[in-house]
């Protein structure tokens, strides 16, 4: 066999395709996002020279860290062909849980572990309903979105729950090698997820099940187990996000902030190229999506424009980005770089 392989039929990248090759390294679908980000930064730079100050860049990093973790998890759910609308409510619920536990004198490690368990339980509930009752993920997580939000209001009596913990203070204020803790968590979470999706058998199966569930099932992949795992993962990410929110604010709020955060996480994942039809999406894209939202928010603040405008801008951006991704342009770009 090896002898016949002296000249394997592989893709020859033409000399003129060097640019396309470079694009391949970034991920062709990320080029548009990168261009958008650069454009956005350039526009903001014309209005203020404070964008590129290290302190400000780190501020952006911290500001997007919680959203980033939720978006990366959401992206995986979307790649698998599902959707988790409840992830923001899960974050609220776990935030309230950790704050209440601390308030009742649980140790910080205990409080964190139990809050993570609450997130896993929330994910298990979503997964069980989707797998065993065969309910559509949108309906399932729309229901749990409401139920988890309600539960966090019930548990907190609708009031803010103050939470003090030395560990949380450290996370909120300190850095490792110049990188603030929340940003560090996002980078580690993103990296681990990226490696998992890109290099492991599990990652490949997640793409396959989103791309063509029948084909995946036909090869013997246990879709039920994968779905369960995916919603557990989303629940865990929701818990991490909720705990980080409490660490940042020193209190848990069972208000609509969690819901907003969850929906913005979906926005960022879609902005980053995840396709609701499943099978498409990746960590770098999701992080770029989050970064664009973060820079937009930050820029409006620096330019002293009312932050309400950012919500309008996000809506416009989402429609622009997704219509661009759907256009044949991207497909053709991809093909040109890959002709045999």
């Amino acid at each position: 066999m090896p002898t016949t392989l002296a000249a394997p039929p592989r893709n020859r990248v033409p000399v003129v395709g060097l640019a396309a090759r470079a694009a391949g390294a970034v991920g062709k679908q990320n080029l548009g996002l990168l261009a958008g980000l650069v454009l956005l930064l350039a526009v903001i730079r014309t209005q203020t020279d404070r964008v590129f100050i290290t302190g400000n860049l780190l501020d952006i990093g911290v500001a997007i860290s919680i959203l980033g973790i939720l978006s990366v998890a959401q992206m995986i759910v979307i790649v698998s062909g599902g959707l988790d609308i409840s992830i923001g409510s899960t974050a609220s619920l776990c935030g309230v849980a950790v704050a209440l536990l601390l308030k009742h004198h649980a140790g910080t490690p205990t409080a964190i572990v139990l809050a993570l368990a609450v997130g896993l339980a929330a994910g298990a509930l979503n997964g069980a309903v989707i797998v065993f009752l065969r309910l559509n993920p949108i309906i399932t997580t729309l229901a749990s979105f409401s139920a988890f939000a309600g539960l966090s209001l019930v548990l907190s009596h609708g009031l803010d729950v103050p939470a003090t913990s030395h560990f949380f203070d450290v996370i909120a204020t300190e850095s490792v090698a110049g990188i603030p803790y929340p940003l560090l968590f996002l980078l580690l979470f993103g990296l681990a997820t990226h490696l998992m999706l890109r290099y492991t058998v599990i990652g490949r199966h997640v793409y396959a099940m989103g791309s063509n569930p029948d084909a995946a099932r036909n090869t013997g992949i246990n879709l039920a187990a994968y779905k369960m795992g995916i919603y557990l993962f989303a629940g865990l990410a929701g818990a991490i996000g909720g705990i980080m929110t409490v660490a940042r604010d020193s209190l848990a709020q069972a208000n609509t902030a969690g819901a907003d955060l969850g929906l913005t996480a979906i926005t960022a994942a879609l902005l980053g190229g995840a396709a609701l039809t499943g099978g498409r999406g990746a960590v770098p894209g999701a992080l770029l999506g989050v970064l664009i939202l973060g820079v937009l928010d930050n820029g409006l603040i620096l330019m002293q424009i009312e932050p309400f405008y950012s919500q309008i801008a996000i809506g416009v951006l989402l429609v622009l980005a997704v219509s661009l991704q759907q256009s044949r342009l991207m497909e053709r770009l991809g093909r040109r770089g890959r002709k045999q």
């Binding site: 394997p8 058998v201 890959r338």
Partner: protein, 265 residues
């Protein structure tokens, strides 16, 4: 037309095989709530031979394919694998024996490349449990070797199968079955959705599979295609088997009149 004279393993005698078919259907039948989907079907598949399966809509072709692939169980007659009677309870069991069905829509994940598709859920990997890491290079090499062996013209990696032509996709789906060690391939109208040129590629591939000793059951509506590819032809009409004929004894008009029945013209 009487069915006895031309029936069955006539063809087997001069098959060039050693006499024992890989897979044999003996008087197989299947009924649904009073409807006879197929009855009295007997045919034998040999390594390196192509058996055509032809008949009008509702003749029972798909039912027969589903029986051979383990999707449905016959309620008359039996199936034999290498001379031994077997019950094919499900597709996985059939696949375990080496019987694989190529359904294009079922077989491929559009967002993965050819290598990822043919290795799906049998990835070459290192490590353990959730940390099993795919050995992409090895899989790519083996996929490329397989494509080369059967002259399947597809890029092994870097191109999503979504971007491939219908013929290329069919090639990937077939390669997936071959990688699994299939000895019998069931092709249910493999060129139905393809243009002339693409169909030609798939037909060439069927011939190469035959040359490599694969036993093939080919469902097709195209008489030309059947005459071009088949060694034997099994004709069904309204749920009954008309007979199995050697390709050499048939002209195109013979095939047509067998399909529609003598009384139809």
């Amino acid at each position: 037309m009487t069915d006895a004279s031309l029936r069955t393993p006539d063809a087997a005698a001069d098959s060039g095989g050693d006499g024992t078919p890989l897979l044999e259907l003996v008087d197989v039948g299947k009924h649904f709530a009073g409807i006879t989907a197929i009855t009295g079907a007997s045919l034998a598949l040999y390594p390196g031979r192509v058996m055509g399966l032809v008949g009008n809509n509702g003749a029972g072709k798909s039912t027969l394919v589903r029986i051979v692939s383990g999707v449905q169980q016959p309620d008359e007659g039996h199936v034999a694998w290498q001379g031994e009677p077997v019950r094919l309870r499900n597709p996985r069991q059939a696949r375990g024996l080496g019987i694989d069905t190529v359904y294009q829509e079922l077989a491929l994940a559009d967002d993965l490349d050819a290598t990822a598709n043919i290795f799906l859920n049998r990835e070459i990997s290192r490590g353990w449990g959730p940390f099993r890491v795919t050995s992409s290079k090895r899989m790519r090499r083996e996929a490329a070797a397989l494509f080369e062996k059967f002259a399947i013209q597809v890029p092994a990696s870097g191109t999503e199968v979504r971007q491939m032509s219908g013929g290329q996709r069919q090639g990937v789906a077939i390669a997936r079955a071959l990688l699994g060690g299939s000895k019998v391939l069931l092709l249910d109208e493999p060129t139905a959705a393809l243009g002339v040129e693409e169909s030609g590629h798939v037909e060439d591939l069927v011939l190469r599979l035959r040359d490599h000793g694969v036993a093939i059951l080919l469902v097709s509506h195209s008489v030309d295609q059947l005459l071009k590819l088949c060694d034997d032809l099994c004709v069904l009409r309204r749920g009954r088997m008309v007979g199995v004929y050697s390709r050499r004894d048939l002209t195109g008009s013979d095939v047509v009149s067998l399909i529609v029945g003598a009384d139809a013209s």
